[in-house]
């Protein structure tokens, strides 16, 4: 029998049992759609995180105490503003050095309040990181030097505390201490489920006084050029280690952060896809089951086809194609559904989703393969049927 003919026969058989074919496909459709959706969300998240890390600014070097590693607990920082001066000397330009000392705190304005991350920073922050203001001004050197109680609000904080007023010039209290709002950041959006607009910048000196500490959590350096970024990091770490013998420091670049985040997200996406893949497998078992029923139901047809000259191979191929057709059509439908859902999710919710060609190709390939794998047993059974017995069956 010609292969084109076999395809036609298989398609006819599926058409003859539309409802059953559709229900059988449903398992595959759901499986493929979930793989496509989850991979799209995983990929989209990864892309977005990459964008955000890159959007922090270029040639960034983050210096923190302890070791940067997946799963290692953050160490208590021994760094102080004196260390920051030392780092500035190593870098050779204090404007390229930013710091942070951060803590969660309740920020109030009148009857409204918002719990947000209050960061003590230097006036250099906008030069090191890419942060844009929506209104007002940022901190100045004199704000920092005089521990002035002024604050720059993130977009969400501003919205929560001053829904109908310009926050600039207003008073807020941070953990009960009064600050004057001097500026509002342009919105940044979310990253890994964290609202990046839910933060308040105050002079690092004011924050240290507020928290009753001399501590600095981390230092960020904007390296003058990309080539010597690792070498600069090494020198900074060496200087800090000299000042704090026995403490470990790490200097990481954006690429290193991206690598770590990418690994985590990759594993996450893989695990999700594997879970979705299991449902595809279950769909395959359903196909196998229905094909066995189909072989039994059409035993007489098989007997007749054999009587008029169908070889075992012809019958086997016919049923195998039927299974492959079931899963392939299911796979294509699932792909369409998955792409549609992923794009809708990306459009109407903050969840990012990016449909990639490789995930579609993979989903289709896997569904066709599922058809072959789960169609082989029923097909072989059909091919081996004894024509005399088959013709006699009811």
């Amino acid at each position: 029998m010609r292969l084109a003919e076999a395809w036609r026969v298989a398609l006819d058989a599926l058409r003859a049992n539309r409802l059953r074919s559709a229900l059988t496909m449903l398992g595959v459709i759901i499986g493929v759609a979930s793989v496509v959706i989850l991979v799209a969300i995983g990929t989209g998240t990864k892309q977005k995180v990459e964008q955000q890390v890159e959007g922090l600014g270029s040639n960034l070097l983050l210096v923190v105490p302890g070791r940067i590693d997946v799963g290692s607990a953050p160490a208590l920082s021994p760094l102080t503003l004196d260390d920051v001066d030392a780092v500035s000397r190593v870098v050779g330009d204090p404007d390229r050095v930013a710091v942070t000392v951060a803590s969660g705190a309740t920020v109030r304005a009148g009857a409204r309040s918002d719990f947000s991350t209050v960061q003590g920073v230097l006036e250099t922050t906008p030069a090191v990181f890419t942060r844009e203001l929506a209104r007002g001004r940022y901190l100045t050197g004199s704000d920092v030097d005089t521990s002035r109680r002024v604050a720059v609000l993130g977009a969400s904080v501003a919205r929560a505390l001053f829904p109908d007023r310009d926050p600039v010039g207003q008073q807020v209290t941070v953990s009960g201490v009064r600050f004057r709002v001097i500026g509002v950041f342009a919105p940044l959006g979310q990253s890994l489920g964290v609202d990046r607009d839910d933060e308040v910048h105050v002079p690092v000196t004011a924050a240290q006084r507020l928290y009753g500490t001399q501590r600095i959590d981390g230092i960020a350096v904007k390296a003058p050029d990309r080539e010597r970024i690792d070498e600069l990091g090494g020198r900074i770490v060496a200087e800090l280690t000299r000042r704090h013998p026995g403490t470990e420091f790490s200097a990481v670049t954006q690429e290193q952060i991206l690598g770590v985040l990418g690994d985590i997200l990759g594993i996450l996406t893989g695990v999700l896809a594997a879970i979705a893949g299991i449902s595809l497998l279950v769909g395959g078992v359903g196909v196998s089951n229905i094909m066995l029923v189909s072989v039994r139901e059409r035993t007489r047809e098989i007997g007749l086809r054999k009587a008029v000259g169908a070889r075992p191979r012809d019958i086997g191929v016919q049923f195998l194609l039927e299974a492959v057709l079931l899963t392939s059509i299911g796979g294509l439908t699932g792909m369409a559904l998955g792409v549609g859902t992923a794009l809708t999710v990306a459009a109407v919710s903050p969840i990012p989703a990016a449909v990639t060609w490789w995930s579609l190709a993979l989903a289709f390939g896997v569904s066709a393969a599922v058809g072959i794998v789960f169609g082989v047993v029923p097909a072989q059974r059909a091919g081996r049927l004894d024509p005399v017995v088959a013709l006699r069956s009811e």
């Binding site: 010609r2 054999k306 009587a307 008029v308 000259g309 070889r311 075992p312």
Partner: protein, 299 residues
């Protein structure tokens, strides 16, 4: 004499049922010659269907030697046996066995699918064959839109569309009323005569059996009587390597000549005559008159 279409020598077939051996055939020897017309009779359970399945290569003997179209069945793979069936055998079943949801013409074309014939040619040949069985106006009807007799005629067309050498019909009229059955039988006889396809037919009807050129009686898995052995009738078509259209006349001649069969009813003769008449009508105008002249010249 030409090579036999089917040759069985001491063929047996034993079924294994829950560890018990059930001998359905116990040493059957017979040959089917090209163009033969054989009626297979015997009580229920005597092994007629079992023998038909073996003769058609649908099943394999458990003992003895069986050759279909000169090829040893035992030496063939299942695929080769299927191809052999496709090329040399046509089956007609009591239950018709048409594919539902499939038009008459597609049902008839089915054997050609497994021969790799293209769709257009398949349809042409199937339509022509349906025309020959008188269903040229029913090409696109589904089996459930056809009467029983029409369904069986579709099945006959399907059996003959590949130009087989042997047509095996297991109680082809068993599911039909007597009038419809008689028409189907007449069709089978006409096709046997016209195209030279050997016809082996299982029947319970003695009148029907009486019309066959040769009768084989079975009982308990063995052949108890074969009219070919008794009378040594040479197969009618033997030696006449002739085009299809020339066949009817000699077969009609010899049948009336040897018309000494048990109680050859006048109705049967009438039927044969009718078939002959239709044949003459269908044959090419130039050939029909030439045939009797040739035959009369021979004796």
């Amino acid at each position: 004499m030409t090579a036999p279409a089917i040759e069985a020598v001491d063929v047996s077939r034993t079924y294994q049922l829950d560890g018990v051996s059930v001998p359905a055939l116990r040493g059957v020897s017979l040959t089917v010659a090209p163009g033969d017309y054989v009626a297979l009779v015997g009580p229920s359970g005597s092994g007629k269907s079992t023998l038909m399945h073996l003769l058609g290569g649908l099943d394999r003997p458990t003992g003895g030697r069986l050759a279909i179209g000169g090829r040893e069945v035992g030496s063939l793979s299942p695929g080769e046996l299927a191809a052999l069936r496709n090329e040399t055998i046509g089956f007609v079943f009591q239950a018709f066995h048409l594919l539902p949801r499939t038009s008459a013409v597609d049902n008839v074309a089915l054997p050609l699918v497994y021969r790799g014939v293209g769709a257009r040619q398949r349809r042409e040949r199937a339509a022509a064959m349906l025309g020959r069985v008188g269903l040229g106006h029913r090409l696109d009807h589904r089996p459930n839109q056809l009467s029983g007799g029409e369904q069986q005629r579709v099945a006959i067309a399907r059996a003959l569309v590949t130009d087989p050498t042997v047509l095996l019909a297991d109680e082809p009229t068993g599911n039909l009323d007597s009038v419809t059955g008689a028409a189907v039988l007449e069709l089978l006889e006409r096709l046997n005569a016209e195209s030279g396809v050997a016809l082996v037919m299982v029947t319970h009807d003695h009148e029907v059996a009486a019309r066959a050129r040769r009768r084989i009686a079975m009982r308990d898995g063995v052949v108890v009587a074969d009219s070919a052995d008794e009378r040594h009738d040479p197969p009618v078509s033997a030696g006449t390597g002739r085009p299809d259209t020339l066949v009817p006349a000699p077969s009609a001649e010899s049948r009336s000549a040897s018309g000494s069969g048990p109680g050859h009813p006048s109705g049967g003769t009438g039927g044969a005559a009718g078939a002959t008449g239709r044949r003459a009508g269908e044959g090419p105008a130039g050939d029909a008159p030439a045939v009797p002249a040739d035959e009369e010249a021979v004796p």
